[in-house]
């Protein structure tokens, strides 16, 4: 009896663990399914239904295979920081983290004091291996962060406002005093992009090979770096700004303006796609989550706001200043202010709360924070040089060799360049919802009912009104004439809305015709053109 009980318990245990595993797998599969499948119930076409059913089955199979691969084949685990007892994560100091982690990781945080060429800007390459550093007074350097080698260091003896890598570490663009320049990794100047004017900020859209810049006159330029064509040149018309960020999800550029507005741009429209009033005062920093649905903005009004980009509404508002912000691959938000860096973490439901904080030496002014891709490292560019600190759990632990490979060989890099050029996206593919490509546009709003339909409806309403039976009233009020008048009134009431609508429909047309007729032919060319 006892043995039996044990066996049954074991069975229950096994089934429980199996259940857990399958739940976990289901959860992972959802990520790879990229949304819900097609609803086959509503389809009437049997052939199409069959074809779609086969397709859906294939999708679910591949999603399941991907989920299994994620579960069993990934070589690296995510980083984490778990407090014990009364400890809080934001009380943990960098020194104690360095003491705990392995030797390779303990070499990653550093402080580089470069006091002369002052406030520093930095950017990581998409694989996270290379770092580009630009000092305000003309100091440029590229570093290999894996071996901590200096690849090239040179001075341009000119103001440097921003640095950005192009499609790989072979080329980078620098926003200098009068123009942006493109250099190769040996420091040779390749191009001077005079059309851009004096740039304040640069961004590179790597899938589209577009270099975007915003200049002193608040003009936004897009230049195709593979062909050299200026794709677009738009006046923002909202004043000088150096707050510019690319949304990695849809390659739309977000600009923060001094009036508190954030505008979003694509190269194929003169007007911004979206204009949001985010702050009561200048916007100081903008950052986009890699999922594409979350945006963080900070303003001089001492507010940091998180926005849902699907409905363009505020998710959360926090108080605090931020000179610079950045989202990590795993969704941590780094906020640089004065000489302090804070890192916030999503505690569920997009409620961000303090995860870690780091204080630089008093008096350092942080100019830029940037998470290093595929590593748990945050790079900080400040007035006295550059630093980097460890932020456990910030980076994506597993890279994909064909997407961004930190261990890329020369041959692989060349091959990737060729394929990237073959798959170069046209500027027209930039849109707020990139998954809309290849889908059917939903039908426009319902067309106006035809005259016949409205007439029929009116007749029905009239019939309904006629068939109303009235209560018997007291003597004198129940006269046939009165009853007839009442009925007539009811019929008129039923007709009324239809007649009104008809009048409304007819009226504007008539007016237009009159206006057109009034002008003599010789004067018609002076008439006001319709806004198109």
């Amino acid at each position: 009896m006892v043995a039996n009980q044990e066996i049954m318990d074991k069975d229950r245990l096994v089934t429980a663990t199996e259940q857990d595993m399958s739940d976990e797998l289901n959860l992972k599969t959802r990520k790879y399914l990229r949304g819900d499948g097609a609803n086959l119930e509503t389809l009437r076409d049997k052939k199409l239904k069959g074809q779609l059913a086969v397709r859906e089955k294939l999708y679910s199979q591949s999603a399941k295979a991907a989920a299994k691969a994620e579960k069993w084949l990934m070589p690296t685990d995510e980083g984490y920081l778990e407090p014990e007892g009364l400890e809080k994560t934001w009380m943990v100091k960098q020194e104690s983290i360095i003491r705990e982690v392995d030797v390779i990781s303990s070499r990653k945080p550093f402080d580089m004091i470069l006091p002369e060429l002052g406030p520093y800007n930095l950017q990581y390459a998409s694989s996270g291996r290379y770092m580009l550093v630009g000092g305000r007074k003309g100091h440029l350097a590229m570093m290999d962060m894996m071996s901590m080698d200096l690849i090239k260091e040179f001075q341009v003896r000119e103001t440097v406002r921003d640095v950005v890598f192009l499609h790989n570490e072979q080329f980078f663009a620098v926003a200098q005093k009068k123009y942006p320049y493109i250099y190769n990794r040996h420091g040779t100047e390749i191009h001077c992009l005079e059309e851009h004017g004096a740039p304040l900020k640069l961004q590179f859209l790597d899938k589209h090979f577009l270099l975007a810049s915003v200049n002193k006159f608040a003009q936004l330029h897009y230049q195709d770096v593979s062909t050299g064509v200026i794709v677009a040149n738009y006046r923002t018309g909202l004043g000088r700004t150096d707050v510019m960020r690319v949304n990695p999800y849809n390659a739309v550029i977000g600009l923060g303006h001094s009036g508190g507005k954030v505008t979003m741009w694509k190269p194929t429209s003169v007007k911004p796609l979206v204009t949001m009033l985010c702050h009561h005062g200048p916007v100081t920093a903008v950052a986009f989550h890699s999922g594409g649905q979350l945006m963080a903005t900070a303003g001089m009004d001492r507010k940091i706001k998180l926005w849902d980009l699907r409905k363009f509404g505020v998710v959360n508002t926090y108080s605090g200043h931020a000179q610079t912000m950045d989202f990590s691959q795993k969704g941590l938000l780094a906020i640089g202010n004065g000489s302090r860096v804070q890192v916030w973490r999503d505690s569920g439901n997009q409620e961000y709360e303090k995860y870690m904080s780091h204080a630089m030496v008093k008096g350092y002014q942080i100019g830029k924070v940037s998470f290093r891709p595929y590593e748990d490292v945050l790079g900080i560019g400040h007035s006295m040089g550059i630093s980097s600190i460890l932020i456990p759990g910030s980076g994506e632990p597993n890279f994909d060799t064909w997407v961004a490979n930190p261990y890329e060989t020369t041959k692989q890099r060349r091959e990737k360049e060729v394929y990237a050029l073959l798959d170069k996206l046209q500027p027209e593919t930039i849109m707020l919802e990139p998954s809309k490509i290849g889908t059917v546009r939903p039908p426009r709003r319902k067309e106006r009912p035809t005259k016949k339909e409205t007439e029929e409806e009116m007749e029905n309403a009239v019939e309904a009104a006629k068939s109303i039976t009235f209560k018997k009233k007291t003597k004198g009020r129940n006269k046939p004439s009165k009853r007839a008048a009442k009925k007539e009134e009811e019929v008129f009431k039923a007709k009324r809305p239809f007649l009104d609508q008809q009048m409304n429909n007819d009226r504007p047309l008539k007016k237009q015709r009159i206006a057109e007729a009034e002008l003599p032919k010789a004067l018609q060319r002076f008439s006001r053109k319709k806004a198109s």
């Binding site: 990229r34 920081l81 983290i97 456990p392 261990y407 290849g438």
Partner: protein, 452 residues
Amino acid sequence: MKVKVISRSTEEFTRERSQDLQKVFRNYDPKLRTHEKAVEYTRALNAAKLEKIFARPFIGAMDGHIDAVSCMAKNPNHLKGIFSGSMDGDIRLWDIATRKTVCQFPGHQGAVRGLTSSTDGEMLISCGTDCTVRLWKVPLLKMMDSSESDEDYSKPLAVYVWKHAFWAVDHQWDGPFFATAGSQVDIWDHNRSEPINTFEWGKDTVISVRFNPGEPDVLATSASDRSITLYDLRMSSPVRKLIMRTKTNAICWNPMEPMNFTAANEDCSCYSYDTRKLDEAKVVHKDHVSAVMDIDYSPTGREFVTGSYDRTVRIFPYNGDHSREIYHTKRMQRVFCVRYSCDGSYLISGSDDTNLRLWKAKSSEQMGVLLPRERKKQEYLDAVKERYKHLPEVKRIVRHRHLPKPIYKAAALRRTMIEAENKRDQKRRAHSAPGSMPVQPFRKRRIIKEDE
């Protein structure tokens, strides 16, 4: 406090020795691959463009006949061989791989009108306007490679003289009989000098004959009285007859769905019929601008090729009403016969300019053995193209074909004529009593009647 950060050692992620393959790590997370759809669309577009660039369907011409090529026959036993007969009575066996004549079969006095080979591939049967049927022995496989003849194949095994000129011949798919068409349909045995059976329905000349691949005893013929007739060898008389408005030049059965056949008609279209339901065509395949002269199905039964009097060869899907491909060259004249190769990857066309021409069935396909990686890439690109084929840019590129000027103009003219006719019909219908002129679908319009 427990803490862990990502740390990778270079040794783990790079190869040990330079001879090793590079290590590959995958992470399928959709977040890492932004703009998935845009990238796929771009790839589809590029694949469509590349397909256009690599579309070189013409492989070569086979020169040798001194008069127009009138008929061809596949050798079911040998992939590389094809027989062709010409208007001057010459019959040749070609090696497709080297595009050379292997041997000739001289003897016919007039034009050779029909060629077929027996199912075992050992015997070739030819017939012509000189009222003879000739049986030939086909050279052996190894013979074709060495191309030196120690045995004489130029003498026919048998010559059967009959009463009328012949227009076509076809061999049963499974069995010893073959059928010839002339002023009547005759069924022959290999070993008899006279037909064992004769069918007649009407007085006009029968111009083509084809046996059903599924039922060995069923055959279909077309005659110059615009009829398509079905016969069963087990019965003494023809089974069914369908009369259309114009003549049918050739018939071919679908080898995978043997109840269906497609008729190449004089009115520039092909009509696919179901034998069980002859009162309307299943599909009308329109695109040619002149009479369709010959038709042959791919062994897969998914596609068929047609040769036309407008000097073009077209490939149609079996259920599609427009062609997916058109082949033409400056030098190719009226096409009299077309055949798919037995593996379905090549086409052979014979035309008025005395040449046989060899084409690829898929114009941009890479011939030869593909590496697995190449094959996978190709499959991926095909899938992406299929997925985005409805987008206007991809559709435009995939559909575009350059047409010779006369054909382009003729097609435009035909379109105008058809539109005018439709408009006239509409007007007539509008002005006649309701119901007196019912709308007839195009699939029925060209059929006059069906006899049992």
